[in-house]
């Protein structure tokens, strides 16, 4: 499944990016760690689209594979934008932020082109048009989350509600996009599509919260995130705890001391319980889908693998 997805992603890029230099840079970017062509990449978004389609319709059609490639490309574009926003790419890959953004926009449009093809191949007519509009709406919600991420970072403080709303928009919208598009490619049943949208939001919000916690605890990134006062949920909890204890002088603290204070603040437990609540919501939605679709086992196994992977980061960090 992963091999077919990656092959399809490559085909889309080669089909729509004519200029060799541009195409070459895009394909090179997709081989970076965490990106689609990296040997260890899980391609979570594209695989989620395929698994949802499989749960409803069985073996994936060519259109479903193209739909999954579309979703994966949209996700990859978001990754590149995120790295530029976090200032993690400057000179790291030999490209300027402007060049990186140029790649992200091209990849985004490759994804949208592939989505158009997928709905056309599926022969969904007016329904296909609606599928694309819903896909775009979720894309815009994810962009709202990205904007709020940068907006909150500029502020001195944020509440846990604001951090959680930003996380759910930024990551949850991408999960909704992936699951809902897979469902729309396989069924017209509005309730099934709605439930899969909820499932995607909750599953990807869970994953983002665990990622945020991993990044907060990782020594290399903790320095960056703490000193930049990123407003992820665990760090907002930590900053606010420090403010309440009149200990807001982290600029003068060593990174080791900050990590110890972070651990002692309860931020890890706070973020993990919040994440677990989203995971439980996703599992509950999956239970509601049982009987409405052919099978949910493939999605249960998908969740199980994601959770094991996510918590592996936690226990080893």
């Amino acid at each position: 499944m992963l091999h077919r997805l990656r092959t399809e992603v490559r085909k889309v890029v080669e089909r729509y990016c004519d200029e060799p230099i541009h195409r070459g840079e895009i394909l090179r970017a997709l081989r970076r760690g965490g990106f689609a062509f990296h040997p260890q990449a899980a391609c979570r978004a594209g695989v989620l689209t395929l698994q949802v389609h499989r749960a409803i319709a069985g073996l994936p059609s060519s259109a479903a594979i193209r739909a999954a490639a579309a979703v994966e490309l949209l996700m990859e574009a978001a990754f590149i934008f995120d790295h530029v926003a976090d200032q993690e790419v400057v000179l790291q890959h030999g490209l300027s932020p402007a060049e990186e953004l140029g790649l992200a926009i091209a990849i985004l449009n490759c994804g949208l082109a592939a989505a158009c093809e997928a709905t056309h191949w599926e022969g969904r007519g007016a329904d296909g048009h609606q599928s694309l509009l819903h896909l775009l709406r979720s894309c815009i919600s994810a962009c709202t989350g990205q904007f709020l991420d940068a907006y909150l970072e500029r502020r001195d403080s944020a509440t846990a509600e604001e951090a959680l709303a930003m996380t759910s928009l930024k990551a949850g919208s991408l999960g909704k996009l992936a699951a809902e598009f897979g469902a729309r490619m396989a069924t017209d049943d509005a309730e099934t599509i709605r439930l899969f949208g909820e499932f995607g939001i909750n599953l990807f919000t869970y994953l983002q919260l665990i990622d945020d916690l991993r990044d907060a605890c990782a020594t290399r990134i903790a320095q960056t995130d703490l000193t930049r006062r990123k407003k992820t949920l665990p760090l907002v909890f930590f900053y606010n705890a420090m403010l309440q204890s009149n200990n807001d002088n982290e600029a003068g603290n060593s990174s080791t001391r900050l990590e110890e204070e972070f651990e002692a603040s309860g931020a890890g437990v706070f973020c993990t319980i919040a994440a677990e609540a989203f995971l439980n919501r996703a599992k509950s939605t999956l239970a509601d889908l049982r009987g409405r679709v052919r099978e949910v086992k493939c999605l249960e196994e998908f969740i199980e693998a994601l959770v094991l992977n996510a918590e592996g980061f936690l226990t080893l960090s």
Partner: protein, 69 residues
Amino acid sequence: MHIAELEKAVRAVARADRGLPVLATLAGAQGFNVPLPAEFDTAAKSLMRRLQERTSEEGKSQDMPPEWI
């Protein structure tokens, strides 16, 4: 989701400094009754259960930061 309620509860337990693990206390495993919204109460318990199962299955407790369990 009443995230502010969870924030208050975790902060209260972390500050109490009874020398007890925060998650276990929130999950009610330490004999303390910490009021949590139902969704977070369920989450604390399911998380606690999964970590305990994995600890006993894989013997990884030494790898976990102590505050988790």
